[in-house]
């Protein structure tokens, strides 16, 4: 399959591979996809006290497009607020990497991964609040 240079660059030099402590209160983790479908993405964000995403890490089981899509979004979310990060669309990812039509689902999965990570972070933050109020 003919892939764009940008995609190949992300595959060969993936940005931000790794894991953050999934139990930390300031870390949100999204795990999406399924092994049987051939792609699973784990995307994690770490949100600073100023509300900005200060770090993002990913691990992906999947084809080159899936790896590149997740690598790209870790770059994009850094420095954004979670509300801003939530607006990243799969079409932006697909366009940036020039994904072939059969690989569009990889960009959809990457968007889902961000949303899942943000949802996880928010759920943790909500649980935190009553505790803080009690103190």
């Amino acid at each position: 399959m003919a892939y764009s240079e940008k995609l190949i660059d992300h595959y060969e030099n993936p940005r931000n591979i790794g894991s953050l402590d999934k139990n930390a209160e300031d870390v949100g983790t999204g795990l999406v996809g399924a092994p049987a479908c051939g792609d699973v993405m784990k995307l994690q964000i770490k949100v600073g006290p100023d509300g900005l995403i200060e770090d993002a890490k990913f691990k992906t089981f999947g084809c080159g497009s899936a790896i590149a899509s997740s690598s790209l979004v870790t770059e994009w979310v850094k420095g954004k607020t979670i509300d801003e990060a939530e607006t990243i669309k799969n079409t932006d990812i697909a366009r940036h990497l020039a994904l072939p039509p059969v690989k569009i689902h990889c960009s959809v999965l990457a968007e889902d991964a961000i949303k899942a990570a943000i949802a996880d972070y928010r759920a943790k933050a909500q649980k935190e609040e009553p505790k803080e109020a009690a103190e």
């Binding site: 092994p35 051939g38 691990k59 089981f61 084809c63």
Partner: protein
């Protein structure tokens, strides 16, 4: 062993896809050349020397093909390849005998050209039974016995599978078919020239052969059609009545000559070549297992041609692995390499779980594969599997002792 050790240029990737096609043996090309130029006659021309010369050449080649499979030369028909041979054998028999019998038996791991032909026949009103295979890829003979009815006209079982290289028990299948008076067709595209075949000893009634899988040219194949007891076929291509009326059309003399030579070389060198390949296969597998855990060979390792390895590298998706090993030309059972996004139906038929099917590579070794190439391939595979596992969430979870099956994955 042949003196030729390398035919690729150094700037080309290492070719490890010998089940897809083989390079032509230079010795085959050499005997073909004159038939492209000055020996250009039509083998059907009976009135002059050009025709006689061409006819002599295609008949000599027919004899070489027949000898490889223990047949008589009169029983060999030239076709354009194994796809046409399989079409002609299955449709030809089904349509000829349809007034008496209308049932065909095949297996779920056959090549698409057999399965698709059977589907077509189903639409025409024939009944087709697609037999499952065992976990090792081999047909259970009792399952075959139970499937045969008095309406069964043909059993079509491939000799060697193109994805996993397993060898079906041809002699046993042939014996069952003969006892039950059912014709036995085998697609031997991946088997001819690789393993000993004997249409008499194995009771084979029809056999498909391909030129380009045995270091011969593309665009030529053969179909063996038994004369005693006679197998009748309805022709698919009408015209001048060449090839006993089974397959009209002017014979492509250079291709016929090439197929014949390829068969003769294969017959002479089968023993030494098999030993060479078995050594390489073992070297490859040992090399990978020394440095990688969690790798699984799909299909029976014993009942298998030595030129094939089909390996699942757990937790690493096949297409991403192929993107990494740029210097190796292999193929994958992963869905992501196919337009359909479905993982290999052959692996699924063995009961290989989908997540493992996504991680499989087919590695094909052949006549021109060297030890050095195998060692380079092992190094590249180890490097990239290790790199991709380090970025695989599944590998991470497995290392943490999490049972991946305990997680509720959202299918998408």
């Amino acid at each position: 062993m042949t003196a030729i050790t390398q035919i690729r240029r150094n700037d080309q990737p290492i070719y490890l896809d010998y089940q897809a096609t083989t390079p032509m043996d230079p010795r085959v090309l050499e005997v073909m050349m004159p038939y492209f130029t000055h020996k250009f006659g039509n083998p059907g021309s009976r009135s002059h020397a050009y025709g006689w010369e061409a006819e002599e050449a295609v008949e000599k080649a027919r004899g070489q093909i027949a000898k490889l499979i223990g047949a008589d030369e009169k029983e060999v028909i030239y076709t354009s390849g194994a796809t046409e041979s399989n079409n002609l054998a299955i449709r030809g028999v089904a349509e000829f005998y349809k007034d008496r019998k209308n049932h065909i038996i095949t297996t779920v791991t056959e090549h698409k050209c057999v399965l698709d032909t059977c589907r077509h026949l189903e639409q025409q009103g024939f009944e087709v039974t697609y037999l499952p295979v065992q976990q090792n890829g081999l047909l259970d003979l009792d399952v075959l016995r139970a499937a045969i009815t008095d309406k069964t006209v043909l059993v079509s079982v491939m000799a060697v599978n193109n994805e996993i290289g397993v060898i079906q028990p041809l002699a046993e299948i042939g014996k069952i078919c003969r006892e039950r008076k059912v014709f036995f067709h085998t697609d031997a595209a991946q088997a001819a020239g690789k393993i000993p075949l004997d249409v008499e000893a194995m009771n084979i009634d029809l056999m498909s052969i391909s030129g380009h899988k045995i270091y011969g040219p593309k665009g030529i194949g053969a179909l063996y059609v038994r004369r005693k007891p006679r197998v009748r076929l309805v022709a698919m291509i009408y015209g001048g009545g060449q090839e006993r009326g089974f397959r009209s059309g002017t014979l492509p003399t250079p291709l016929c000559v090439g197929l014949g030579e390829a068969c003769e070389i294969a017959m002479k060198e089968m023993g030494t070549e098999a030993k060479h390949l078995a050594k390489l296969q073992e070297r490859m597998l040992k090399g990978l297992r020394a440095k990688l855990t969690d790798i699984v060979v799909n299909g029976d390792l014993e009942q298998r041609i030595p030129g094939n390895l089909n390996i699942s590298f757990a937790y690493v998706e096949g297409e991403s692995l192929m993107m990494g090993i740029k210097n190796l030309s292999v193929s994958s059972g992963s869905a992501c390499t196919s337009a359909s996004l479905e993982p290999s139906y052959v692996l699924r038929a063995l009961g290989v779980e989908e997540e493992m099917a996504h991680t499989s590579l087919r590695i094909g070794l052949g006549r021109f594969t060297t030890e050095h190439e195998v060692d380079t391939a092992v190094d590249e595979l180890v490097r990239h599997v290790t790199k991709l596992r380090a970025m695989s969430p599944l590998w991470e979870m497995a290392q943490e002792g999490i049972d991946l099956k305990s997680i509720e994955w959202a299918a998408h």
